[in-house]
Amino acid sequence: MTRGSGNTTKQPGNTTDGRIGTMLKSIIGTAVVLGVAGLGAPAEAIAQDGGTFAVRGATIHTVANGAIEDGTIVLRGGRIIAVGRDVEIPADAEIIDGQGKHVFPGMIDSFSSLGLTEVGAVAVTNDASELGRWNPHLNAHTAIHPASEHIPVARANGITHTMAAPGGGGRFGGGGGSGIQGQATLIHLDGWTVEEMEIEKTAAMVIGWPTLSTGFRAFAGFAAPGGGRSFRRAQERFDEQVAEMDAWFVAADHYRQAVASGSSRVPRDIQLEHLSRVLDRGMKVIVRANGWREIESAIEFAEKWNLDLVIAGGNGAREIAGTLAEKNIPVILGPVQRLPQGDDTAYDDPNTLPGVLHDAGVEIAFATFNSSDSRTLPYEAANSVSWGLPQDAALEAVTLAPARVLGVDDRLGSLEVGKVGNLIVTDGDPLEITTQIEWVFIKGVPSDLDNKHRSLWEKYDSRPARRVTTTTT
């Protein structure tokens, strides 16, 4: 198949691609069977017989243990069974020549609305946000649309996993406001059903922290009449909202005690039942907060309730980087390609933030908080490198660091024996825009790299030259 011209290489992993393609079909068939059989088992009870694959003679960037030149990595039964320079390739392995290629762990978008938002402006296609402010019992898992066009688009650029989270969505972000937005789910970006995709059905509870704001940011030329409120009133309003949040945690704590007492007279309250699970670090709590005062408030709150806190957003985190490091609170950073917050904020404030946090010892992970932009995740990381974030830390912040932040680094995030077989084969640095992703392996098998964009490109790139017809000119 020839296409256009220029330097784009033919992408393998296409189902029309000979033997691998045929295998892929049979693997998919197997996966369906196993997916059903695997109900109730750990979600990554993956295609146990998914076949054996080896990438030979590539530069293997393990993330955990440096890079291996002229290395080989072997995947079998869905897992990495060998990685190194002198590795015996099983006789039945399907071999990919890795000469001149690079192998990296698949990238993890730490916070997205993949599968939850299809068309930003079309409300009926959005399931990321629910009405009401107190939804600890809702789970993104319930609404993941495995056939969303966004998933293969992200996957084709090397994004293999995401934490799909409630409370966001839409082209312009939509923070979801203050309140308990529900549970986020951690998924592989491949699978026929959400059950095949899931890694952790409940990866975290997502909370939108109240914002301490004196004003209303002008939007599209509209500003609130009379301008903003005073700082004192903003603080009062903020304190009220935090108190409201606190009341939910008090209730959850009481509910837990009541249930633990064994009394048969405790009516089941599904909201409190779910919320009580976050107490005493029973579940990760991802708090969306940007200003340092808000982050500080969330930290204080998390200490009071002994929460396993992760900050998401964190635009103002540099002001309290020391505190975050000292208390081991990771930050899932919002897009680096965003505007600085104030007119008087340095032009490169978003670019320098990741490096500043890294230097201070804060664990950082990148995220897009979006669905259609998920494929641009690696560029968010790269945009910090020329502003102080070390190259290897940038790569780690889209691979192993998110796995640690989300508590799955025993299975994901690096190329190590025993981990799930998630990797990408590229012609270069995946954080660089012009790099092509040539193979994506998820759960030890090649993923289809075809997607809506590639299909439309191929279709219209091969449109026959227009026959000139009579017009009304």
Partner: protein
């Protein structure tokens, strides 16, 4: 002369601690004072010369004097010589679709708002001018919004941070006007308020009808003026001029080929229909903006002579963007359409170089073709390519010196020159941060940070929490 208050602190608001801090290079310099030679750099010219390794560029009095290999370009003795070893030089980036530095964008009460102009609302204090210059952008097309099928008139500006509104305007840039098709002029996302009547049009049929009817009226209006002028020319002293119609005047300019249409569009069907309506009235759609489905009608666009200014990879944010593909620029380029990549955003306008690089990844444009999408092609679309868009002797010295390869996610600007003057420089920026912090501290002291419970001012950022 540049405005005397160029680098002074300016207030952007009153009654609050609003610091409109003028980042920029201190010194109040007027026009470029000394010749500058950058040498030893890799120069991406966006001109026939293409890429020049170990290249040099000399500029003086705001104009490029010479571009070539370092050994070829000689510097006058008074030139400031900058070592560009390991660095890259490109033309200043041109953003063919922007909404920064304007106090208003949409006059949406009417379906035809050709009587209004962005020229009347240029805001030279918008920090986006500086921030985008820090990303290499030197010229922007500030466009009216997309609320109406025929929108207002646009303005082309240079990012001469520190100038007043008039000083920003790109001298002699041909006039342009905004049209808009599809969801936005239908007001699909803007429900009417109770008691408010819906505004026609509400469908793509209506959008095209509004445009057609406006040009029927403009044709008649033009005929009245043509008749009047013919009578005056024929010596008729009793000829009475038709009443001026400010809505119609720009449309007459379109018909006469002196004002250029930039049409916001998404779907292939509306792109095609607008070209046909324009052909009915004998004019051309100069540039389709966004044009996310241009890849479906690229041949028709090339035949009509329309240019395309699109996004790199945005999609699915609205229904009419659901079939957008990042290969759009490449497909249209291959089929003979002049393509630029624009920002439509004060954020994206800070890294159009990276957006251009995406055309290399998706669809395989060459380095030169990719760079052209944010330089010379945009200049051609704005008809200012005799002045800017490439590095050639005689052109304006709008030049970007990059720390590293510009068509990359790792790219970073070192210095941006407009008319040979520094509008952004890494070191100058760092120096100003200290000044700004000091100035803020002083202002805080003047305001009297107090423990008074009635003091309703924001106490500001935590002392010592700077960057």
């Amino acid at each position: 002369m540049r405005h005397p208050t160029k680098w002074s602190i300016r207030r952007v608001g009153a009654g609050c601690l609003a610091l409109g801090l003028a980042f920029g290079v201190p010194g109040g310099a007027a026009a470029q004072e000394q010749p500058i030679l950058i040498r030893g750099a890799t120069i991406l010219t966006a001109a026939e010369a293409g890429r020049i390794e170990d290249g040099a560029i000399l500029f003086e009095n705001g104009r490029i004097i010479a571009v070539g290999s370092t050994s070829e370009v000689e510097a006058p003795s008074d030139a400031v010589v900058i070592d560009g070893t390991g660095k890259f030089v490109t033309p200043g980036i041109i953003d063919a679709h922007s909404h920064i530095a304007a106090d208003a964008i949409n006059e949406g009460a009417v379906s035809v708002s050709s009587m209004v102009s962005i020229h009347d609302v240029i805001d030279p204090t918008d920090i986006a001018l500086y921030r985008e210059a820090a990303g290499g952008t030197t010229t922007s097309h500030i466009m009216h919004g997309s609320a109406n099928p025929i929108g207002g008139n646009n303005a082309v500006i240079k990012h001469r941070w520190g100038e007043d509104a008039e000083g920003l305007l790109f001298e002699g840039a041909p006039p342009t006007i905004k049209f808009a098709l599809g969801e936005n002029p239908k007001r699909a996302g803007s429900p009417t308020l109770p008691g408010q009547e819906a505004r026609y049009p509400a469908s793509r049929m209506g959008v095209m009808d509004v445009i057609r009817q406006a040009f029927i009226e403009a044709t008649e209006y033009k005929a009245e003026w043509d008749t009047y002028r013919a009578r005056v020319a024929g010596g008729d002293r009793n000829a009475i001029p038709p009443r001026r119609n400010l809505t119609m005047d720009p449309l007459v300019e379109i018909l006469e080929g002196t004002r250029y249409v930039h049409a916001h569009s998404y779907r292939a069907d509306e792109i095609l229909q607008l070209m046909r309506v324009a052909e009915e009235f004998g004019f051309r759609i100069h540039t389709f903006q966004h044009v996310l489905e241009g890849y479906r009608v690229a041949d028709e666009m090339a035949e009509h002579g329309a240019h395309a200014s699109t996004f790199s990879d945005w999609w699915a944010y609205k229904m009419e963007a659901y079939e957008a593909i990042p290969h759009n620029a490449a497909i249209m380029t291959r089929r003979g359409v002049n393509v630029s990549i624009n920002s439509d955003s004060g954020e994206e306008g800070r890294h159009l170089n990276q957006e251009a690089a995406k055309t290399m990844k998706w669809g395989g444009l060459s380095e030169a073709e990719a760079l052209a999408t944010v330089t010379i092609n945009a200049a051609i679309q704005l008809m200012i390519d005799d002045r800017v868009g490439s590095l050639e002797a005689g052109k304006d010295a709008d030049i970007v010196l990059w720390e590293n390869y510009p068509l990359s996610s790792y790219a970073r600007v070192r210095t941006t020159y407009i008319d040979g003057e520094v509008v952004f420089d890494i070191d100058a920026d760092m120096a100003m941060r200290a000044e700004i912090e000091a100035e803020k501290a002083e202002l805080r002291e003047l305001l009297g940070e107090s423990d008074d419970p009635d003091d309703e001012r924001d106490p500001g950022r935590r002392p010592g929490g700077g960057r």
